[in-house]
């Protein structure tokens, strides 16, 4: 069991993650098409006669300060959650790539490694992720509007996402039996990776697709270029 989790399952997990994500992205492209170019019938010129005395004024912009603009955005309605989730997500995505333990393993496997964060910093950021997880757990339990749409599944996914950090933390500090903890760490990390394409964690690729690629009122950039067929 230990051997499986240490050996093949690592590779399987990474493969499932990459292939599963690729499949989801492929399926998205198969289900959508490029938006047809906007074809507007020419608008008739104004009827003959004297032109209006004053040109029609364009809707002018009132320069709003950054704070005022942010207040009008989702930061205005849910400032705390957005702040926490931003920190949580940045650490969640980047931390595993820059943890020394991982880089040592990657170095052994592929002879490549990314720069490693100082161990104390990585450890602190791990605590930040755990705190974020606790915040989300609290919201699910006590905030009526979140509670109203929460089912057991949400707790399972939250656990899937945060257990690698808890066990990684325990392993780093050699709390409890190291072998067991590192076993659980690898197992939970592998499960999480495999869960990304197939649970609500699929929001990682789909955030980018939905907001940058699809045509929508709230698309980023120039408004996206694909629509569902």
């Amino acid at each position: 069991m230990y051997a499986i989790v240490r050996g093949p399952l690592v590779w399987i997990a990474i493969l499932v993650f990459i292939l599963g994500t690729a499949f989801q992205v492929y399926r998205f492209y198969a289900l959508t098409r490029r938006k047809a170019a906007l074809a507007l019938a020419p608008v008739s010129p104004p009827p003959p006669g004297p032109a209006p005395a004053e040109p029609v004024p364009v809707v002018e912009e009132v320069p709003l300060s950054l704070v005022q603009r942010l207040r009008l955005s989702i930061l205005g309605t849910s400032p705390v959650t957005i702040a926490v989730t931003s920190v949580f997500h940045v650490c969640l995505v980047l931390l595993p790539l820059f943890v020394l333990g991982h880089n040592v393993l990657m170095d052994m496997a592929w002879e490549i490694s990314l720069v490693s964060l100082p161990e104390a910093l990585a450890d602190a950021l791990t605590v930040v992720v755990m705190a974020g997880g606790a915040f989300f757990l609290g919201r699910r339990l006590f905030y009526p509007r979140v509670r109203a749409i929460t089912s057991a599944y949400d707790y399972v996914v939250l656990a899937l996402a945060t257990t690698p950090f808890v066990t990684g933390f325990l392993a780093f500090h050699h709390l409890f039996d190291y072998d067991t903890v590192i076993f659980l760490h690898m197992l939970s990390g592998e499960l999480m990776l495999m869960a990304i394409p197939f649970t609500k964690l699929v929001h990682m690729p789909f955030f980018i697709i939905n907001r940058f690629v699809l045509v929508h009122e709230n698309s980023f950039g120039r408004g996206g270029h694909r629509v569902w067929r």
């Binding site: 906007l38 507007l40 008739s44 009827p47 809707v59 002018e60 009132v62 009008l72």
Partner: protein
């Protein structure tokens, strides 16, 4: 549905200059769909106006409330108590909504914040094309589903006129002749009898078809596109 465009801020500001407690009422119907008068636009306009008033050293303040549909009394019930606290109302609904507000609260001045522009279709996010001018005597049944009021420069009910020129209108050779299109569609459907039926002409003025592009989304449709 109904399409509208926001009025210039200066015009709105002038309308409310004698009032301090101002309620901006949005509508969750058509104007919300065409991105000009829903809750989000209410909040944006309020922020902009409040900044302007503050810059001018004026005491006025706008608050917002969005109702389901301003053109239905049923949905104004929620407003009744609220309105009492305000000196005047701004409406971001179409002209129908503005009028119902004015009727229901006769002692409160009501100012429109949008220009009701058209009955149209959604072409793109923030881009709307007029398709109907509510002429009250719809002729689409014998024009092959092409509206001569909004599409023909002269709003002719019997056409084409002598100005049709190789499929274009004499007004501009950029513009297709609506009656040519009507002819072609009816012909393809074997319904040319319909074009021969004479209709009473209508008195039409100002039959320029409108295109509405909401300002905040304009940049999506100008300049090079990725």
């Amino acid at each position: 549905m109904v399409k509208a465009e926001r009025k210039p801020l200066a015009e709105i500001k002038e309308a409310i200059q004698n009032y301090t407690r101002i309620l901006n009422v949005g509508c969750g119907g058509c104007v919300s769909v065409c991105l000009v008068g829903g809750q989000k636009e209410v909040q944006l306009l309020n922020t902009q106006m409040n900044v302007m008033l503050q810059n001018d050293g004026r005491a006025g303040r706008l608050e917002g409330f969005t109702v389901e549909r301003q053109c239905n009394r049923l949905h104004l019930v929620d407003l009744d108590e609220r309105v009492a606290r305000f000196d005047c109302l701004i409406s971001m609904a179409c002209g129908a909504g503005v009028q119902l507000l004015a009727e229901r609260y006769p002692d409160k001045p009501v100012f429109p914040a949008v220009n009701t522009a058209a009955i149209g279709i959604d072409q793109e996010i923030g881009v709307y094309e007029e398709r109907c001018r509510a002429c009250g005597d719809c002729v689409l049944g014998y024009t092959g589903g092409i509206c001569p009021v909004t599409r023909c420069a002269k709003g002719l009910f019997n056409g084409p006129c002598g100005g049709t020129n190789r499929g274009k209108c004499e007004v501009s050779n950029e513009i297709p002749c609506a009656w040519q299109e009507i002819y072609e569609r009816l012909n393809a459907q074997n319904r040319l009898d319909d074009i021969k039926k004479l209709r009473q002409p209508m008195e039409w003025q100002n039959t320029v078809r409108r295109l509405i592009v909401q300002e905040p989304y304009r940049q999506r449709y100008t300049g090079p596109k990725a």
